[in-house]
């Protein structure tokens, strides 16, 4: 399991995460929810080992995340991160070179399904094409953990449906899949677990079905309730 124990992350005087304890178990699709700046991306980057917590521990299978956990964790950042000289094909080759769990055939299939030619140059991709390629290369790994930061960003409705299907395909009983998105209703259709983070603190981590029965609210309505006290400018677009 992927776990953060009392994790605090400070950037200078800014506290991005404040004593967050959270466990993500295989077999679930987690929706990490919260307005901009709530700490979702920071949590994912800590889980990938791209950041080190100021306090607390980030663990994968009981061991501190680092070089070895990166063999199992597939992270997709919200920003484009490929080298500009790359093509769709060479991005796949890069992943194949570094990740033993990368499946080139699956990558080719995902590229085809997303209408991305292997010869496309990364620097010429539109934001939508870039988003699709990030999803394709990340989900072409047979990883144990997928961390997808805003996978629906900059993508039209049809492509969004396609990506949602691909995400569901990647999830199985051995896989932890966590994603963040501004599109709460889309996330609700995919996720079975919700994690509400507010101003760096964990508000609630709950099974969605149980939450619906307990509160009588959908995830989107619960989201509105949890973040109701925040200014309109800070709220997510639902």
């Amino acid at each position: 399991m992927l776990e953060s124990r009392e994790v605090t992350m400070r950037f200078g005087s800014t506290v991005a995460l404040d004593h967050v304890t959270l466990r993500l178990e295989p077999g679930h699709i987690y929706a990490l929810l919260g307005p901009n700046g709530s700490g979702k991306t920071t949590w994912m980057k800590l889980a990938t080992g791209l950041l080190h917590p100021t306090e607390g521990q980030m663990l994968w299978k009981g061991e501190t995340v680092g070089m070895h956990s990166r063999e199992d964790v597939a992270y997709m950042s919200t920003e484009p991160f490929f080298y500009p000289w790359m093509t769709a094909k060479s991005v796949g080759k890069y992943y194949e070179d570094f990740f033993a769990d990368f499946d080139p055939a699956r990558y080719e299939d995902l590229l085809r399904r997303m209408d991305l030619a292997p010869g496309l140059k990364v620097k010429n991709l539109s934001s939508g094409m870039m988003a699709k390629m990030k999803v394709a290369v990340t989900l072409a790994r047979r990883a144990k953990v997928y961390l997808l930061d805003e996978p629906f960003n900059g993508i039209d409705l049809l492509a969004r449906d396609q990506i949602a299907r691909t995400i569901v395909e990647a999830a199985d009983s051995d896989t932890v899949l966590a994603m963040s998105s501004h599109l709460v209703e889309e996330m609700e259709a995919i996720a079975d677990w919700a994690v509400f983070i507010k101003q760096g603190r964990l508000v609630e981590s709950c099974d969605l079905e149980t939450m619906r029965q307990r509160t009588g609210l959908s995830m989107a309505d619960r989201y509105r309730q949890v973040y109701a006290d925040l200014g309109a400018g800070d709220k997510e677009v639902l």
Binding site: L50, L51, F81, W85
Partner: protein
């Protein structure tokens, strides 16, 4: 490590292509000058080739620091730091790539220099003079007991000093991109750090081996070992800082 090296070479490829293009243009100018007996062009091209021979290795070093800086400070760094490799391997690949690149560039430039000098002397029927001058130089070297070992040691010592300088630059950049990240004047502090450590390393070496300067082999060997020890210490220090303070 093999894969890290492969992509480090790929990342620096465009800078090397520019250098290669520059040499190709200057070389073409020199050859055309020789072909059409245009002495001004020959002189101009020779001057620029000599200048490029000194500048290009330095540019390779600077380009590698720029690539490291980009890896540490832009989203492209995810490509590197999300791979299952540790910071010692990542930085090690960068150091090796730089050392190999500079070595190959040095050898290529030296060979080109020999070729160009031979061509120029041959074009103006001065080959006999060239051999004569070379014989004199070799004779002087023999007289000074400068043998092949000494010459090889000299180049090895230069390479080690280069690696030391590159590691100081990496250390300074990693410092500014991690511990000093987001702080005012972090770039300036890193630059001052680079200058101070470079001077310190050079001065310490000078004082430590001053007594050996009458024995070229011992001096060069001691200097090379000293530079290598400094380079290794700086490499481990920089990788440890990167490992503990990674923030991409």
């Amino acid at each position: 490590m093999k894969m890290l090296l492969k992509y480090e070479f790929r990342k620096s490829w465009s800078a090397k292509l520019i250098a290669l293009g520059l040499f190709a243009v200057l070389e073409a100018a020199l050859l055309l000058g020789l072909l059409f007996d245009h002495s001004r062009t020959v002189g101009f091209a020779t001057g620029l080739l000599v200048f490029a021979a000194f500048v290009v290795p330095m540019a390779i070093g600077i380009a590698s620091v720029v690539i490291l800086h980009r890896d540490m400070n832009s989203k492209q760094g995810y490509m590197l730091f999300m791979t299952p490799r540790n910071c010692y391997q990542i930085l090690g690949a960068k150091v090796i790539e730089n050392g190999v690149s500079v070595l190959l560039a040095g050898v290529a430039i030296a060979l080109l220099g020999v070729l160009d000098v031979t061509l120029v002397f041959a074009r103006y029927n001065l080959l006999d003079d060239l051999w004569e001058q070379l014989s004199k130089i070799i004779e002087a070297f023999t007289h000074l007991s400068i043998d092949r070992t000494t010459v090889l040691l000299f180049f090895f010592s230069v390479l080690c000093s280069w690696l030391c300088t590159v590691n100081i630059a990496y250390f300074a950049d990693i410092l500014s991109s991690s511990i000093l990240r987001g702080k005012k004047f972090s770039g300036l502090v890193a630059f001052i750090f680079f200058i101070v450590i470079s001077l310190l390393v050079s001065r310490l070496g000078f004082f430590a081996f001053e007594s050996l300067n009458r024995k070229p082999v011992s001096y060069l060997l001691a200097d090379a070992v000293y530079s290598l020890v400094c380079a290794v210490a700086l490499y481990f220090g920089a990788a440890a800082i990167m490992d503990r303070n990674l923030n991409v």
